[in-house]
C-alpha cells in the first residue's frame, strides 16, 4: 500500500498565504472561534475535547480533556499557555505551524482558553524563532483589530487577553513548569511536582500548558465534530498527527497522517532512503526516545505500538538511520545535547550527562577505555528516575537501545591503555 498524507492542519500550507487574515477567513478561519463563544459553553468545548480523544502532541501524550479536567473549580484566575518552545531534536512541526499557519494556531489557543474559562492566554515562543515571533505579533494585531482578542468578544461579555512571550534559548523551557518559571521572568528551571500546573501554575494560579499542535487540532475538531476525529486512528491514539521525518531520507519534511500509519509507509512518504541503502533504525519520537529497528517497521505509528516496541511516540519526530550510520557519533551528539541543555538543578542529570558526554567523546575519537561501554550502560541507567523533570531520564533510551543493538560499533572504538597513552 502506498501511503498518502492527509492534510488537516497542513491544509493550504504552501498553497495560500495563511498568514494573511483575509485569506484565512475566506477559508473559514475564525468561524469556529465565533461558534465557540456564541453557541457553546466552556463545558461543552471541554466535553468535545474529551470525546475526541485528543492527546497532547508535545511529547507526553497526556489526554487533553483530562488535563483540562484537573483544573480546580474555584474562582481564581486561570491561564492558558501554548507551548511553542519546540526544541526536541528532530521536531519541526510547531515551527512550521507557527510560521505558515499562525492564525490557525491563534484560533486554537483562543478556543482552548475559552474552554477552560481563562481570561488571559499566552504563547511561549522559542527564542530562536525570531521570524515566527514577528509573524505572530502581526497576526495578533490583526486578530485584535478584527475583534477576536480583547474585551466583550462577539458581544458575549467575555474578555480574553493574549500575550506573546519570547524565550531566549533553553531547551528545558519546553518542560511545562520550567516554561512557567521562564514566563514569570525567572531562570527556566523545572519545579518540583506536585503541585502540578493545573493546581498551581503561572503566578501560582491554575494553568494549562498545551502544545501548539494540540491546540490547533481543536479548530478542525470543533468544525467537524469529535466523532470525525475519534473515528480515525487506533484504539488509544485518535485522530491525525504531524510527523516530522528527517535523517537519511530523500524528502525529509512534515507529513500529516492518521495515527497508526505504518512506520514503513511514513518512510516511503518521505522518499525512502538512498538507493542501495536500507533502514537499520528509526528514532520515532524525538531525541528522548529509544530506537526501533527493522523488525518494527510494520508497526503502526501510534502511542501504544511505539510503547510496545520499547520506545515512544513523543513529539512525533522520526529520525531515520540507514546502514551507513555511525551510532557512536549519533549517540555522542544526542548526549552532548542533553548535557548542554541540563539546567543543573539535579545532580544525576548535571553530572551524569557530562560524564556520559566525555565517555562518548573518548569513544568517538577511538580512545575508549575497556570499561567505557559498561560505564555508558550503567551510568545512563542510574540517571533515570532521580530528577525533577524528564530531561535526565531522556538520555538513557536512545543510548541503551543503540548499544544493545550495535555493540560492535562501540567496542571497535575501545583502545588499549598503551594506545591511549601514545595518542596523548
Amino acid at each position: 500500500m502506498t501511503a498518502v498524507a492527509t492534510p488537516v492542519l497542513m491544509q493550504g500550507i504552501g498553497e495560500a498565504d495563511l498568514r494573511n487574515i483575509d485569506v484565512y477567513r475566506e477559508r473559514g478561519g475564525y468561524k469556529q472561534l465565533a461558534r465557540a463563544f456564541c453557541e457553546m459553553t466552556p463545558a461543552s468545548v471541554l466535553d468535545l475535547a474529551k470525546a475526541s480523544g485528543l492527546r497532547g502532541r508535545g511529547g507526553a501524550g497526556f489526554p487533553t480533556g483530562s488535563k483540562w479536567g484537573f483544573l480546580p473549580s474555584n474562582d481564581h484566575p486561570r491561564y492558558m499557555v501554548c507551548n511553542c518552545d519546540e526544541a526536541e531534536p528532530g521536531t519541526f512541526k510547531d515551527r512550521m505551524l507557527l510560521e505558515e499557519a499562525p492564525h490557525l494556531v491563534l484560533e486554537g489557543i483562543l478556543i482552548g482558553a475559552y474552554g477552560i474559562g481563562c481570561k488571559h492566554a499566552f504563547i511561549y515562543i522559542r527564542g530562536e524563532f525570531k521570524r515566527g515571533y514577528e509573524i505572530m505579533r502581526r497576526v495578533v494585531e490583526e486578530a485584535r483589530a478584527a475583534g477576536f482578542i480583547g474585551k466583550n468578544l462577539f458581544g458575549t461579555g467575555n474578555d480574553l487577553e493574549f500575550t506573546i512571550h519570547r524565550g531566549a534559548g533553553a531547551y528545558i523551557c519546553g518542560e511545562e513548569t520550567a516554561l512557567l518559571n521562564s514566563l514569570e521572568g525567572k531562570r527556566g528551571e523545572p519545579r518540583l511536582k506536585p503541585p502540578f500546573p493545573a493546581v498551581e501554575g503561572l503566578y501560582k494560579m491554575p494553568t494549562v500548558v498545551n502544545n501548539v499542535e494540540t491546540l490547533a487540532y481543536l479548530v478542525p475538531i470543533l468544525e467537524r465534530g469529535a466523532q470525525w476525529f475519534s473515528a480515525v486512528g487506533t484504539d488509544k491514539s485518535k485522530g491525525y498527527k504531524i510527523v516530522s521525518v528527517s535523517g537519511h531520507v530523500k524528502k525529509p519534511g512534515n507529513y500529516e497522517v492518521p495515527m497508526g500509519t505504518p512506520v514503513r509507509d511514513l518512510i516511503e512518504l518521505a522518499g525512502g532512503v538512498r538507493e542501495g541503502r536500507k533502514v537499520v533504525a528509526v528514532q520515532p519520537g524525538g531525541g528522548s526516545s529509544a530506537c526501533i529497528f527493522e523488525e518494527h517497521l510494520d508497526l503502526g505509528y501510534d502511542y501504544e505500538s511505539m510503547q510496545k516496541a520499547g520506545s515512544m511516540l513523543g513529539s512525533g519526530a522520526m529520525v531515520v538511520f540507514d546502514d551507513t550510520t555511525d551510532f557512536v557519533r549519533a549517540a555522542h551528539s544526542l548526549v552532548r545535547f542533553f548535557a548542554h541543555e541540563s539546567c543543573g538543578q539535579c545532580t544525576p542529570c548535571r553530572e551524569g550527562g557530562h560524564w556520559l558526554e566525555q565517555t562518548l567523546e573518548r569513544l568517538v575519537h577511538g580512545r575508549g577505555l575497556p570499561s567505557d561501554v559498561d560505564i555508558l550502560k550503567k551510568a545512563s541507567r542510574q540517571m533515570t528516575g532521580l530528577n525533577l523533570c524528564a530531561l535526565g531520564d531522556s538520555i538513557e533510551p536512545f543510548l541503551a537501545s543503540v548499544i544493545s543493538r550495535f555493540p560492535e560499533q562501540f567496542e571497535a572504538r575501545v583502545a588499549s591503555p598503551r594506545e591511549v597513552a601514545a595518542s596523548v
Partner: protein, 312 residues
C-alpha cells in the same frame, strides 16, 4: 523604595565584577552550575584585568548603532513600560525587556541589566542570574554576523560535522569565538527545528537552509563585502535535496569529530583518558603568569582598581 541598593546608572561594585566575569558568548547552563569555581574565577578575574581581546564599538554589533546608553535607555523605556503592562506580574517582562535592549545594543550589557533591575525592582544579581541562564542573551558583544550552525542529530546525519569543520577553517575561529575584526561570531548550537532542511544554520537568527560548501563560500564573501542580506526562505518551498555527505567516507577517515581538536577549557577538563586536561597543564606550565593564583595581594589590587572606577 527606601532600601533599594542601586539606581539605574550608579556603579554597583559587586555587579561590575560579576559582569566582567563573562568569558564567552552564551555560556551553557551546565557550566554555570558546575562547582568548578576556583579555576573559573581565577581565569575570569584574569580576563577582567586584561584588555579584552577585541573591544567592539557598538556599530559592529548586529542591528545596532554606536550610541550612548542613556539615549538607548530613553528610547527603550516606554517600550519596557508597555511590556510590563502586558503581564499580570511585571517581572514576567524581564525576558522581553532584555530582548528589547539587545535589539538596540546587539548584546546584553551590564547597563541594560542594571536598568532592567531598576525598572522591575529586582536586585542586579537576580537579573544577571536570570540572564545568564539563557544562551541567546550574549553578555559580551558579538560579531556583526552571528553564525549559529546546528550540530544536532538530523543535521549531523546530513553532514553538519563537515559544515562545521569548513566554517572553522574558513573563519579561523572555533565554537563560541569572535573574529578579531568583529565581523563574525561562531557558535555550534543545538537543534534549530529545521531538520527537513539539514544541514541548517541561523545568521542573526534568520534561517539558512541546505548548506553546501559553495553556499558557505558565497555567504562569507558577501558578508566580508558588506553585501549580505539575510533572506529567509519560506519553509514550504523545498527544493529536492542537492547535497548529502557520504557517510562511508567519514567512517573511512577514522571517524574523527571536528569538535574537540586541541580545544581546551579549564572548566571542562574531561575524564580519564581525555587529553584536554593535559593540554591545559601544558599551557599553565608554559605561561604560568597568565594563570596566577588568587593571592591576597592580587585580590586587593583588583578590588582597588574597581573602586577607582576601574577597568570596564
Amino acid at each position: 523604595m527606601p532600601n533599594r541598593r542601586c539606581t539605574a546608572f550608579s556603579t554597583e561594585q559587586s555587579f561590575e565584577i560579576a559582569s566582567c566575569k563573562v568569558e564567552k558568548v552564551g555560556v551553557s547552563a551546565r557550566k554555570a552550575a558546575v562547582p568548578n569555581g576556583v579555576m573559573e574565577s581565577c581565569c575570569s578575574l584574569e580576563s577582567a584585568q586584561e584588555t579584552p581581546r577585541f573591544r567592539l564599538d557598538n556599530a559592529m554589533c548586529f542591528g545596532a548603532v554606536n550610541q550612548d546608553f542613556s539615549d538607548i535607555y530613553a528610547r527603550v523605556r516606554p517600550d519596557c513600560e508597555a511590556l510590563m503592562a502586558q503581564y499580570p506580574d511585571r517581572r514576567s517582562a524581564l525576558l522581553p525587556m532584555i530582548h528589547r535592549f539587545a535589539a538596540e545594543e546587539g548584546y546584553t550589557s551590564a547597563d541594560a541589566m542594571r536598568a532592567c533591575s531598576e525598572m522591575l525592582n529586582l536586585t542586579p544579581a537576580t537579573v544577571e542570574s536570570t540572564v545568564s541562564f539563557y544562551t541567546l542573551f550574549f553578555r559580551k558583544p558579538v560579531g556583526k554576523y552571528m553564525l549559529q550552525v546546528c550540530r544536532n542529530l538530523s543535521c549531523q546525519l546530513a553532514g553538519a560535522e563537515d559544515v562545521m569543520a569548513y566554517f572553522r577553517e574558513q573563519l579561523g575561529i572555533g565554537h563560541l569565538e569572535t573574529t578579531e575584526d568583529g565581523l563574525f561570531s561562531y557558535e555550534e548550537v543545538e537543534c534549530l527545528a529545521a531538520c527537513d532542511r539539514a544541514p541548517c544554520m541561523q545568521v542573526n537568527l534568520e534561517f539558512v537552509y541546505d548548506l553546501t560548501p559553495k553556499m558557505i563560500d558565497d555567504m562569507l564573501v558577501a558578508m566580508r563585502g558588506g553585501a549580505y542580506a539575510v533572506a529567509p526562505l519560506p519553509q514550504t518551498a523545498r527544493p529536492e535535496r542537492t547535497w548529502m555527505i557520504d557517510q562511508d567516507d567519514q567512517i573511512s577517515r577514522g571517524g574523527k569529530s571536528p569538535g574537540g581538536q586541541g580545544v581546551s577549557d579549564p572548566n571542562n577538563a574531561g575524564g580519564i583518558g581525555d587529553s584536554s586536561g593535559i593540554i591545559m597543564l601544558d599551557r599553565i606550565l608554559a605561561q604560568p603568569q597568565r594563570f596566577a593564583g588568587r593571592t591576597r595581594e592580587r585580590l586587593l589590587s583588583e578590588s582597588s582598581a574597581f573602586t577607582d572606577g576601574g577597568p570596564r
